[in-house]
Amino acid sequence: MTVADAVIIGGGIQGCSAALHLARLGAKAVVLEMAHAGRHASGVNAGGVRTLGRHMAEVPLAVAALEAWHRIGDLVDDDCGFESVGQVMVAETDAELTRMRSRAEDLSHAGFLHEEPIDSADLRRLVPAVADHCVGGLVARRDGAANPFRATLAFKRKAESLGARVREGVRALGIERVPGGWEVDTDDGRIAAPAVINAAGAWADRFAAQMGDPVPLQAIAPMLMVTAPMPRFVEPVVIGGGRTLSFKQFRNGTVLVGGGHRGRADRASQRTVLDWRELSVNAESACALFPIMRTARVVRAWAGIEGRMPDDIPVIGPSGRQDGAFHAFGFSAHGFQLAPIVGAVIADLVTSGRSRLPIEPFRIGRFRAAAG
């Protein structure tokens, strides 16, 4: 039997970040990862580092996380490919622009100034290639993008260098309550620890149920496409205001097109199947906002497996029923940016029982009525 200060189920960026922050506080965690760190949602997402357009409940975390991204080298000894190129949300109609302006106003009343409304001329200065009909938008100038797999690996390596153990290819089979803590059964022995952290992404509902917190998690497969290199035409990350589109051109000229359109996820085989009828809508959106994209050559499309909650915000916090049990999952396809702060919050909770930021909206108990 292995003994640790905490067992973390899931070697995605949330699990690795929790391990890293625990190690900084002197607690040695063991991370159990059934495949390799970053194999699913953490490693194959669009890499968006976005505060722009966040759910109001997520804003405090996203803003704190953005500060961490701007100093990410201090945290993980690697720049994670982070570039602060800004993110722009495009309004295609006056109604959309009005909605964006009032959102920025609401945010500023709450003390957050990171989203600025822009008019048509500003939009064209920031995104010259945008289609003629677009009328303005919102910009978060300090947002950007990073390399998701590289970032996940950097969190993992830093956690290991501070004393965490990341056991790849080891599957957690079950969690059991024992006096003084928990025992986690794996396909490579048992581990005992006073704390267990469920960061199992699309597989987290199984562990949540074993911890006494059943949740209605849906395994989804958000899809992305990437093109062959194009002449450089857009600097910031662009997202749609009225369409589900995210759009980014890399330094090498390739363009990433996403927007949360879903393929099919198969959790058992850990494989995804693309849905071209959905991707077609995604392609149409990209061409509508950027006419130059019609002739872009798509070289590859793929999907990751991610956990989604019915209200599209994550579960972060202690178990509703058991001591020494914590959750960080269900990020609903926008958790990558939050990782530096979620790890810190989880480490706070494990070591002191308090969070530095408001996490009440993410409590697992909110599904109690629904899940029974």
């Binding site: 797999f149 077609s280 809508v281 990209a286 872009a296 590859r300």
Partner: protein, 470 residues
């Protein structure tokens, strides 16, 4: 096209695909042959219906054997979708087909993939210089446009195709200055055990001897070459090579490289068929049952795409897969299928006789499969072998994880040109078998198509509704 359901979609118009499509159509099945080329024949019989090479002796009797296959296909009633790219097959057997800049889904009850072979990469230092091509590319130019090179031509590598092209060039009036044969001397000893079987397959022997003798008469052949460098600034000027510890250099205007062919598995991998590492042919092969069915339901794989066997074997494997498709679709009983397959199975056994001898004899040397530090491994992203080794040292265990660091395999070729090199280089650096390292996860589209084309695909109601945010 989208709403109609056909019986069988055959992907690839080489010998396996032609024979499979003809067999299916003759059995009364609605059959479509989807092929990237403008005319049937695949690589081996490329342009057989319209080659400008009129003198039949130039391309040789083996090439013209394809005529009968094409004629049978054309008589069979199978529909020929020419210049058409099958870029994905969904689990519901919808084949995504791009023709003339537009894509549609062709729904089939069975799919037979006959994607053929690719040349194994031969990543010697300088192989990306203008003036360096593959032997296969040289042959394509000859077959489809009658083009022969001028200037000083050097052929390098191993395998029968090297000598075949030399013979074809000579008959077409072009001269090859030098053949650098890289076949390791130790191969013959390993292959010897299978020599008796090879000798029984008389046709190989006669053909091989004829090719060798004819080459020896007119071309200088250097055997036992164990390193090659293509040299020049912005253009090939010379070839440096090493033989028995001796460094030599010859001037060259064109260097044609070749070290055998391997299954083209990009489509079968992209759609989720299981593949295994073949330790003798040194490549990935799809996992198949006795009737060539893959691990994805409704999909069979025939011909060299299922493991290298050559053109004659490919046609028989196409027929066998087609007969089983006909059984699945209810037009043949199991007994009828078995009866009709007896002939093709016997012919297949004959065609495969001697194959192991050839595989072992022409197995390319490790030093030509796992490149030197300064040689480019991934052409799309210009990644050299040293970078791959540095990445392994960082703890990156396989080709998929390496994508994030080096982008190798993420270019337009999706690993067709670098996949085996990268897998074998990582395996060698880690000291494990290639099967342990794995291959790139290939993603559709297997060849690039435009975003505009994807935007015009038919959409689902749900997808359209979901566009409106919130």
């Amino acid at each position: 096209m989208r709403d109609s359901m056909i019986d069988v979609a055959v992907i690839g118009g080489g010998p396996a695909g032609l024979a499979a499509a003809a067999t299916c159509a003759e059995a009364g099945l609605t059959t479509y042959l989807i092929d990237e080329q403008a005319s049937p024949g695949g690589q081996i019989y490329r342009a057989i219906a319209d080659t400008p090479v009129a003198d039949r002796a130039i391309l040789g009797a083996d090439y013209w054997r394809g005529e009968a296959l094409v004629a049978a296909f054309q008589r069979s009633g199978a529909v020929h979708l020419a210049s058409a790219l099958a870029w994905d097959v969904t689990p519901d057997l919808e084949v995504a087909v791009s023709v003339g800049g537009g894509s549609r889904f062709l729904r089939a009850r069975r799919v037979i993939i006959a994607s053929g072979a690719l040349e194994r990469p031969m990543p010697v230092p300088g192989w990306t210089l203008p003036g360096v091509m593959t032997v296969g590319a040289g042959q394509i130019l000859l077959k489809s446009s009658g083009a022969v090179p001028s200037g000083r031509v050097v052929l390098a590598g191993c395998g029968p195709l090297l000598y075949l092209l030399a013979a074809q060039y000579r008959r077409a009036g072009a001269e090859v200055a030098l053949i650098l044969d890289t076949t390791p001397a130790a191969n013959f000893k390993r292959a010897l055990r299978h020599l008796p079987e090879f000798l029984l397959a008389g046709s190989y022997l006669a053909k091989g001897a004829e090719l060798l003798l004819s080459a020896q008469r007119s071309v200088e052949i250097v055997r036992g070459v164990d390193s090659i460098v293509a040299a020049g600034e912005g253009q090939l000027r010379s070839v440096r090579y090493n033989v028995r510890g001796q460094e030599r250099e010859v001037s060259a205007d064109l260097l044609l490289l070749h070290q055998g062919v391997v299954p083209n598995v990009n489509l079968s991998m992209a759609i989720g068929c299981a593949h295994d590492w073949d330790g003798e042919q040194l490549c990935w092969s799809p996992r198949l049952d006795a009737w060539s069915n893959a691990t994805v339901g409704g999909v069979a794989i025939a011909g060299d795409g299922a493991g290298i066997g050559g053109a004659a074997a490919a046609a028989e494997r196409g027929r066998i897969a087609a007969l089983d498709a006909a059984r699945h679709l209810g037009v043949l009983s199991e007994a009828q299928r078995d009866l009709r397959a007896a002939g093709p199975r016997a012919a297949l056994r004959r065609a495969m006789r001697g194959r192991r001898f050839l595989d072992l004899l022409y197995a390319p040397a490790p030093s030509f499969r796992v490149p030197a530090d300064n040689a480019v491994a991934c052409r799309c992203e210009e990644v050299v072998a040293r970078q791959i080794r540095d990445c392994v040292a960082l703890g990156v265990p396989g080709p998929n994880q390496m994508k994030s660091f080096l982008r190798c395999g993420m270019g337009p070729c999706q690993g067709r040109l670098c996949g085996l090199t990268v897998t074998e280089t990582i395996a060698a650096a880690r000291g494990v078998a290639p099967g342990m390292v794995g291959h790139y996860r290939i993603r559709p589209p297997i060849k690039p198509i435009t975003l505009g084309e994807i935007a015009l695909l038919p959409k689902s109601e749900a997808a359209i509704k979901a566009v409106a945010r919130g």
